[in-house]
Amino acid sequence: MAGTDTKSSAAATVAGQRLALLRRPERPVHLSVTVALVLFALFALPELMSAYYTGYMTLVAIYSIVTLGLGLLVGRVGLYSLGQGAVLQIGAWTAARLLFATGQPFPIVIIEAGLVTMLIGTVIGLPAIRLRGLYLALITLMMAGAITVILATVNFPNGGGGFTGYDGQQSHIPPIRRPSIAGTDSAYYRYAVVVAILMFILVYAHLRTRPGRAWAAIRQSEPAALAAGINTTYYKLWAWALASFITGIAGGILAGDAHYLYSINFSTQDSIILLAVALMGGVYNLWGAVIAALLMQLLPAVLQNLGVNYAWLTILFGIGVLQVLTTAPTGLADQFPKDMKKLGGLIWRLVRRPQPGASASASASGGAGGGST
């Protein structure tokens, strides 16, 4: 009796610790900055932006979900996928088909798109997950290529009938609908941001609980994780399913955003650029996903505004990948604050250095301040 009591109380303590772990914000400053940024993105930004940038910032919100999923796979579990662009296409296709075929509310449709994508992703992932490292990356590249070829032939739905929903003869193509509360571009931008925040919360909750710990163990060493009693296949598949789910949801939002989808707008190159920006943004940090999306979607818009050729950006991404892999594996999200800190320290030292000497010329400006105190 006493034994079970201590056992249950111990279990309660563990459960309490777990809850505390979930609740305790890692760094209060970080949390408040995050909240401030989210509020700014939701309320201030749509008022400040032109229509041009609203469109691109909507894409940033959408692609931040995609890079979040990719960052989860690469950074947290160590599964390199070169096929996330194709997963996004599956989500967009499913959502577009359902939006044309049914009158269901938009949120229901994007959740369904997420679930269908998750199902397809898991079916594809189940055999692929047996492979590791380089071979997994290559099989995802092959599958992405295959899906792109299939969708280029099947085409995206344009309001036609049948399973594919594509009618080549159609003269008037109806646009893919948006939710009634988010008909305008700026309202749809807010809608996309809210969905993105929900996805980030979903992934964050995973990372702070059992699956997150299991993934961390798997990334460190799969045999060790296996020895510790973690069902590695199950958790790897879980990560795969979660990433597919959120990418599918991003695809659904993308369908509503674009209004018209064409297979010519998707290519195998996208999947590679996605991995490139995810690595540049940083895969070990959730902010990295946002930075990656800004790099991929906002930077081209800014450059286009300045009249710079998009090809320069492709070159920049290439250099970025090489730089990240050789010198800064944590990506911009971790590297940038560090560099700023270093730079701050350097400036601080440069400013401070002349003072101990207190030579007349060097302390001319600094000395005045010192004198007044």
Partner: protein, 298 residues
């Protein structure tokens, strides 16, 4: 159902395409075995070389000079990349080293889009003098370019096999494929051997870029991602055997082209390399060979 006489012509073009895939696949496997790097920029390097050739021919330079520039460009760019990033990433996971070559792919792709933006009207093309001359075999029209493509594939596979088996440099490369550290301890100048492997792979990239630009199309993204087809052949051979790579490449090329006359399948013929590679990878994974190998490597 198309008749055999319709299919025959596609058999010839398929063999030629397979020959070039074999050329690229063997280049990829040899470099991978010697240095541990899967060179995913193979297609982009060849494509850029082909564009340089196109530009030189437009400037009415002699054809042979333009072709040599294409091939040398491949060798030099690959060698430079290998010399800079080979040592920098030597201690890292094979996956990271493969992903890094995607960086080079993007740089070259961007440069090509910048220098040769898509044209709306005139289509760019390279034509080799061997395109229009040819001969007829059992009623089939065969061009010399097709003969060169298949022949190069065969000669190169046999040549590389002989080279790896009987020459000193080849032996050094095989030793490095087994264990880099021990090979270095035995006094093999591994940096020089690696440089030779990089340069050789680049030469092949330039050569296959030239042939593919002629046989397929001179367009940056198409040529860059054709590497995936030869990669599929290399994967079927588990990145090890050049003989298997050769035959897999021929099968991919022939199946791809022979599907063309089938109305129901013609749009799906580009799936050929992906489907074959996925099946091969999954078949391999059933025997867990990759599991043990990759855990040894990491």
């Amino acid at each position: 159902m198309p008749s055999w006489s319709e299919l025959e012509q596609f058999l010839v073009s398929g063999l030629a395409l397979g020959g070039v895939y074999a050329l690229s696949g063997v280049g990829l496997v040899v470099l991978y075995r010697a240095t541990g790097v899967l060179f995913l920029a193979f297609g982009a390097v060849g494509a850029m070389g082909a564009f340089l050739t196109y530009e030189m021919i437009q400037a009415s330079a002699p054809g042979w000079a333009a072709w040599i520039v294409c091939i040398l460009f491949g060798g030099v760019v690959t060698l430079i990349y290998g010399m800079i990033f080979g040592p920098a990433l030597a201690g890292r996971d094979r996956l990271v080293r493969a992903v890094a070559t995607l960086g080079l792919t993007l740089i070259l792709l961007g440069a090509m889009e910048l220098l040769w933006p898509p044209t709306s009207g005139a289509v760019r093309a390279i034509s080799l003098p061997t395109d229009n001359s040819g001969f007829t075999v059992v009623g089939l029209q065969v061009s010399w370019t097709q003969v060169i493509a298949l022949g190069a594939g065969v000669v190169l596979t046999v040549g590389t096999g002989v080279f790896l088996r009987y020459t000193k440099l080849g032996t050094a490369m095989r030793a490095m494929a087994n264990d880099r550290e021990i090979t270095a301890t035995l006094g093999v100048p591994i940096r020089q051997v690696e440089a030779a492997a990089w340069f050789g792979c680049g030469i092949l990239a330039g050569f296959s870029g030239l042939l593919l630009a002629d046989l397929v199309q001179l367009e940056p993204a198409t040529l860059t991602f054709l590497v995936i087809s030869s990669l599929a052949a290399a994967l079927i051979a588990r990145l090890r055997s050049i003989t298997v790579t050769f035959f897999a490449a021929i099968v991919i090329g022939v199946v791809h082209d022979m599907l063309t006359p089938f109305n129901a399948l013609t749009n799906y013929r580009d799936l050929t390399p992906f489907v074959l590679a996925v099946i091969a990878l999954l078949a391999v994974s059933r025997h867990q060979t990759i599991m043990t190998r990759s855990s040894e490597e990491s």
